[in-house]
């Protein structure tokens, strides 16, 4: 946390949001093996850069059934970046404590939501998609992908939080249980 207690800078906001994603995905997928944890940290560090550049629009966690290649769950985090923060480096007037409180309530809601979603009975895997601006240069090790939309889904909108620079709207879509 580079930002002071008084307000929040773009860098601090990017770090906070990245931290939120790390926590959130961990609480959706727990327990993770060390290999998967490495993958997650890798993605989150790249995401942090993009958050700092304000070029990221969405982060999506897709859970796929390995036998049928069907998408069963889709956790979507819409990110609204205030691009004006890139020009002015002055910190925003929002205390980190309130942001932390907001994040905590979302994480709680996410963990509660996981319990009521349909059980994943088949062996599954997950993937992290990042929606970015079109003009972004694709880095090494990354490639373009489809949106991995669920056929016949139910959607639930979860809470949102804002650092006053990045606003994150959370939602989850899952395959309707009778349609499985």
């Amino acid at each position: 946390m580079t930002s002071t207690l008084k307000g929040i800078t773009l860098k601090g906001s990017a770090e906070l949001v990245a931290e939120f994603f790390s926590f959130g995905i961990n609480s959706i997928l727990s327990p993770l093996t060390p290999k998967l944890k490495d993958y997650l940290t890798n993605v989150v560090s790249q995401l942090k850069d993009w958050l700092f550049e304000c070029t990221v629009q969405k982060l999506v966690l897709v859970i796929t059934c390995l036998e049928t290649n069907e998408v069963l769950e889709r956790w979507q985090f819409d990110i609204e970046c205030d691009k004006s923060a890139k020009e002015s480096s002055a910190p925003r007037e929002k205390s980190i404590k309130t942001i932390h409180d907001e994040i905590r309530s979302i994480i709680r809601q996410v963990t509660a939501t996981v319990s009521f979603l349909p059980l994943l009975e088949t062996p599954c895997s997950f993937d992290l998609l990042v929606y970015t601006d079109k003009d972004l240069v694709v880095p090494d090790m990354w490639e373009e992908s489809g949106p991995q939309i669920i056929d016949q889904s139910e959607e639930v909108r979860l809470r949102s939080f804002t650092t006053s620079i990045h606003k994150v709207n959370s939602m989850v879509a899952y395959k309707r249980s009778e349609a499985v």
């Binding site: 796929t64 819409d78 895997s125 970015t132 694709v138 992908s145």
Partner: protein, 668 residues
């Protein structure tokens, strides 16, 4: 030979005899003769003997030769047999070689298997070693644990000893405890007696208290009784008073009823009064109204008189009003038409104004042109004046020159000049005329423009007039317009609401799409790490599937190979067994049995004289065997008749044939 020796001996004897006596000599001679005779007999015998021996020898020789010949033929036959056997053996050797090759293959397979087994064994050995090491470590641990156990045992012994001492102490203490207990029992007995005493004491105290309480109650009762007695003494006075009071009460009640009646009356009167006052006020109002209405009526009557209309009743009035309204409606219609006309006129006015402004601008332009033209004309007139002056000057100069000089000297020059000057003059004059023409044209144009302007102004004026006349009726038109506009506004409002709803629906859909993860491919691109867990898992799965398939294929191949191998081995075993069986049959029964074609069996005897001699049997449909005719069977007519036709026994027939052939071979 003997004779020779005898001859030799004679001379020697003779010498001896000549030395001894002649008798001896004769004796000797006689004995010699006897000996010779004996010898002769002997030799003849011997000769005969030898002769006989010779004859015997010859006989035996002949016999031997015969036998040898027989043996030779036998050996030749044996040789043939041996050759046959040799061929068989060669065939067998080949088979054996093949078998050997197979065996070698098997051996190599086995060696490979052996190697894999060895590897396994090595791996197992390694594991064993690991286990050994573990076992060693475990042994060490167990030894250390044993040491610990020993220590612990010692400790336990120590503890035991302490425990025994403790038990001794314990016993002592228990004895003490018993003593104490006894004491305690005594004390407790004492305590119980004390408690009993205390309880009885407390009971007594409670009784005392209760008695005290009762005493106080008694005292209170006594006080109450005293007061009651006093009250009882007062009772007759009280009764008197009561009577009096009752009378008072009755009187008061009556008076109260009267009072309430009076009050009600008062209330009723008050209400009446109020009502009366109200009616009075109303009366005043009504009178006032009446006056007003009378005035109005007068006014109306006056109006009727003044207007000349028959307005005497409200019906008349309403009729009038209706008429007026109709008139108003007609006027309104007129107004509408006028308004529309006004609008059209306004429009035309606007157009005309635009035209007028255009015309004005044109006239202005024309005026400017005219001014410039006038200026030009003035300048040209000035120039004309100047030129005429110049011309006059020049003429004067020329005249002076003419007068001064002789006409012949400079006349060509002068003439030339003159002509030039005249040319210039003509040019200027023509230019002047042109300019004048232009001027007149411009003046004409300005005139026409002025005329146009005037007409336009006139039109404008008349339009203005029209406008003023129409202006009155324009308010109605605006109303109409307003209503139309309102209608339009309402329509637009409805349209707006519909669009808003649609917009909401579309927004909801968009929201849903957004929730589902849709995106605009023009603005957004979706990225993910190439090596994401899903891709990795899918790849792994693919590989597993492939590996499983490969394994399956390998398994199947192995199974197939093993089954083929088993088949091969079975074939070999069968072949071997069949061969063995056939040889055994051959050896035991003396027949080699071959299958020539289906259901035909050829039997060749061990003892057959020729290689081709064979018996042919055919299996019938019911399993019975029938002898077929061969060259060999033709020679066996008797046996066929006896054993097959008569005895109906193939084994007997075959045995007979065997015996026959065997006897033929052995007895010569």
């Amino acid at each position: 030979m003997i004779t020779v020796t005898a001859d030799l001996n004679i001379p020697r004897g003779c010498r001896i005899a000549q030395q001894g006596s002649g008798i001896l000599q004769s004796q000797y001679k006689r004995s010699m003769e006897l000996l010779e005779a004996a010898e002769r007999v002997h030799s003849t015998n011997r000769y005969r003997q030898l002769d006989q021996e010779k004859k015997q020898m010859e006989l035996s020789h002949k016999r031997a030769r015969f036998e040898l010949e027989k043996v030779a033929s036998d050996s030749a036959r044996d040789h043939e047999h041996e050759v046959d056997r040799n061929q068989d053996l060669l065939g067998r050797i080949k088979k054996l070689e093949e078998r050997e090759i197979d065996a070698a293959k098997n051996l190599s397979d086995q060696v490979e298997a052996n190697r894999s087994v060895r590897k396994n064994l090595e791996a197992l050995n390694k594991k064993l070693e690991e286990r050994d090491s573990r076992l060693n470590s475990a042994n060490q641990a167990s030894s250390s644990l044993k040491d610990e156990i020993r220590e612990l045992k010692q400790k336990i012994q120590n503890k035991d000893s302490t425990i025994s001492s403790q038990t001794l102490e314990n016993q002592e203490l228990q004895e003490q405890l018993d003593l104490q207990r006894r004491k305690y029992q005594e004390v407790s007995q004492l305590c119980q007696s004390l408690q009993a005493a205390e309880s009885s004491c407390s009971e007594h105290i409670i009784k005392i208290k209760e008695l005290e309480r009762r005493l106080t109650f008694q005292e209170q009762d006594i006080a109450i009784v005293k007061t009651v007695k006093l009250e009882v003494a007062r009772l007759p006075d009280m009764e008197k008073e009561l009577k009096r009071l009752r009378e008072d009460n009755a009187f008061l009640r009556e008076s109260r009823e009267n009072c309430s009646l009076l009050k009600e009356e008062v209330e009723g009167l008050r209400r009446k009064l109020e009502r009366m006052e109200k009616t009075k006020e109303e009366l005043i109002n009504v009178e006032l109204d009446k006056e007003r209405l009378a005035e109005k009526l007068h006014a109306w009557e006056n109006l009727g008189q003044s207007t000349g209309l028959n307005i005497r009743k409200p019906d008349d009035l309403s009729r009038e009003v209706i008429q007026i309204q109709q008139r108003e409606i007609a006027l309104k219609e007129q107004n509408y038409t006028l308004n529309s006309r006004v609008r059209s006129v306004e429009r035309s006015q606007a157009e005309l104004r635009a035209e007028m402004s255009q015309q004005r601008s044109k006239t202005l332009e024309e005026q400017k042109k005219r001014e410039t033209q006038e200026a030009l004309v003035r300048r040209l007139q000035k120039r004309i004046l100047l030129l005429t002056k110049e011309r006059d000057g020049m003429r004067a100069i020329l005249e002076s020159y003419d007068s001064e000089l002789a006409p012949t000297e400079y006349s060509p020059q002068l003439n030339k000049r003159l002509r030039e000057a005249e040319d210039i003059l003509q040019k200027t004059q023509s230019h002047n005329a042109e300019m004048e023409a232009q001027l007149s044209k411009a003046q004409e144009e300005t005139m026409t423009i002025k005329l146009q302007l005037q007409t336009v102004e006139l039109e404008l004026e008349c339009l203005k007039k029209q406008q003023t006349s129409v202006a009155d009726s324009s308010s109605l038109a605006t109303k109409e317009e307003v209503s139309i506009l309102r209608q339009k506004i309402e329509d637009l409002e409805l349209e707006r609401q519909r669009l808003e709803k649609q917009n909401n629906i579309l927004e909801m859909r968009l929201e849903r799409h957004n929730l589902q993860g849709d995106y605009d491919p023009v603005k957004t691109r979706v990225l993910h790490l190439t090596m994401n867990p899903t891709a990795v898992a899918k790849q792994q799965r693919q590989q597993e599937v492939e590996a499983l398939q490969e394994e399956e294929v390998l398994d199947l191949r192995k199974q197939m190979e093993s089954s083929e191998l088993r088949n091969q081995r079975l074939k070999e075993v069968f072949q071997r067994k069949i061969q063995e069986f056939r040889t055994v049959c051959y050896v035991l029964t003396g027949y080699q049995i071959d299958i020539t074609t289906e259901n035909q069996y050829r039997l060749a005897s061990v003892y057959s004289e020729h290689m081709d001699d064979s018996l042919l049997f055919k299996k019938g449909p019911n399993g019975s065997m029938q002898l077929m005719e061969t060259e060999f069977s033709k020679t066996l007519g008797e046996m066929v008749a006896l054993h097959l036709h008569h005895q109906k026994s193939i084994p007997a027939f075959l045995s007979a044939v065997t015996l026959d052939l065997f006897s033929r071979q052995t007895t010569i």
